[in-house]
Amino acid sequence: MAQTVEQVEETGVVAKVREFISTIPYNKIGIKDLINYEKTPLNNLLAVLIVAFLAMFVIGVASYLTHGHHAYNITREHPWGLLIAVYIFFVVSSTGLCIVGSLGDVFGFKDYELISKRAIFGSIVTILAGFAVIAFEIGHPVTMLIYNVLTPGLTSAIWWMGTLYGLYLTFMIIEFIFLLKHDMKKAKIFGLTGLLVGLAAHSNLGSVFGFLNARPISNGVYYPTYFILTAFITGIFIAYIMMGFRYKMNWPEPVKVMLTNLAKIQGLLISILIFFVSWKMLTDVYGGMPNRSEVAVHIFHSWTFWAEVILAMLIPLFIILKDMGRNINGMFWASLSGMVGIFFMRYNLVHDTQLKPLQMMKIREYQLSPEWIHYFPSSTEIMISLGGLGVCLLLYYIGSKFFNLDADEQH
């Protein structure tokens, strides 16, 4: 008899879950609808790029599955390569979009509500793309899922980062569902929880580098805080890009107001970032700490550092300051430049951390030790990375067809 009651209760729960899922609003579309997009030259180019990136992803993954980590140019001295940088690029984008999405539905700024749904959906697809890339960098991802739970390393920043990002993704999906159902109260609760968990996860990602006392260039509080700042900046760049594609550069008035405000916030954030980076580099160089100052000098001489500074900081800041954030078309292009700069920012973070050999005198007799560790990504690493971008764009495209990502009429 008891079993029957349990069964009835279970059936009740299942029925409720089914009912909940069946009431999520979505557009009933097929593969035909996905292929039938507006055939403009730009759309065609994007479609070709997405297909090419996905093809690269398949080839890259096949190469990895055949040759393992030997398909990558990572070495014992430089164990983290491009894929780690690209993973960070995607999860920073996710956290940034989560912050931008939260402005409206969590903090109640009405002007920003029209991007909430789109930004939260963007945060889901970017983190999924990040996971797709990191799955082929971690040697044993299945073992990770098992022993992350069975024998958690609570002193490890990677454990906290991974676990919190898993939770964050769950909260983001739930928030997105409530946004679709227009249940703003529950969306706010899950949005706020997701935001806090996401910020904690992201800060922990910074601490993965900050905890390395073997690497003075990264050690310290800088990265855990700087990651949050750069996440917000990245989120605003992507907000511009998403809205630019959505409205084909013909901005409705509310969108104009929102983007102008975002540009002003971006101006402040980039200024703070320039302040951060300047003092980080100056204290590194002139602080004179062994293994830190010479690395910083080396970074000053690398073109990737200047690519980061010019593309992600100077160009967007110039565009914002020139018209006090009102040049929205200009900001769209500056945001594309900004995202390329942000990619270099992530690449530099990973590469610069490992630049300096650990000086344990593993040298042949009568031969000088190498001054710097060299690294350039292999074709497999590049293909999987571009594949990650393809996955991200494809998921976003499918999502934009399946769901109504614009603000609801009631707003």
């Binding site: 393992g68 980590h69 990572i74 014992r76 001295e77 164990p79 983290w80 971690i138 040697g139 044993h140 991802p141 073992t143 990770m144 022993y147 992350n148 024998t151 958690p152 390393g153 002193t155 490890s156 920043a157 990677i158 454990w159 991974g162 993965v208 905890f211 390395l212 006392n213 073997a214 690497r215 951390t353 490992q354 050999p357 650990l358 344990m360 005198m361 593993k362 040298i363 042949r364 007799e365 009568y366 000088l368």
Partner: protein, 187 residues
């Protein structure tokens, strides 16, 4: 429980690399994995001719320091890296996910990827080979012709290593990092 460590009378090292060979043989280190598990560093002679500092050209044999506060253990997300009951830092290959965080965190460059298991490996003080067979020395110590290495229990007052550390001045590598290494270089 013992507390294993190693003292190195490094000025006696003649760079014959017998320790590297013995380690490879005993622990099945793959061909080509040179200077991965243990190695002999060579300092360049300092000064200019004719004022050369001959003493500066010493060889510096090294390996995992089996730190008491091992950064590699602290950063491991699955506790694959652990201290055994004798304070030796070991890797459980079953749990290793090859995230390579330990390789980046180790200040001594003492970790490498074993291509057979595709997990991170390191010096074990011959725990699962010689010590498991009841021997009391490591392969590198056993083979050294100039008796550079002395392996033993740091907590045993009468052990040879304790005697050496009581009677000889010594230093450890990168002590400023607070890792409390258990490889001691005798001066």
């Amino acid at each position: 429980m013992a507390n294993y460590g190693m003292a190195l009378d490094y000025k006696n090292c003649i760079n014959c690399k017998a320790c590297e060979v013995a380690c490879k043989e005993e622990n099945g280190v793959l061909l080509g994995a040179d200077k991965h598990r243990i190695w002999v560093g060579a300092n360049d002679v300092k000064g200019e001719w004719p004022l050369l500092d001959i003493a500066s050209a010493a060889f510096l044999p090294s390996q995992c320091q089996h730190c008491e506060e091992a950064p590699c253990q602290e950063v491991c997300p699955t506790n694959a890296t652990y201290y055994n009951e004798h304070g030796v830092v070991l890797v459980d290959a079953e749990k290793c996910i090859l995230c390579s965080y330990c390789m980046n965190a180790c200040p001594y460059d003492a970790r490498y990827v074993d291509d057979r298991t595709m997990t991170v490996d390191k010096c074990t003080f011959c725990t699962d080979t010689r010590l498991a067979r009841g021997e009391t020395t490591t392969a590198c110590q056993n083979t050294c012709p100039t008796k550079v290495r002395t392996f033993g229990d740091l907590d045993d007052y009468d052990s040879e290593i304790s005697e050496l550390l009581r009677t000889r001045e010594h230093f450890s590598l990168k002590e400023n990092l607070g890792t409390k290494p258990k490889l001691f270089y005798l001066t």
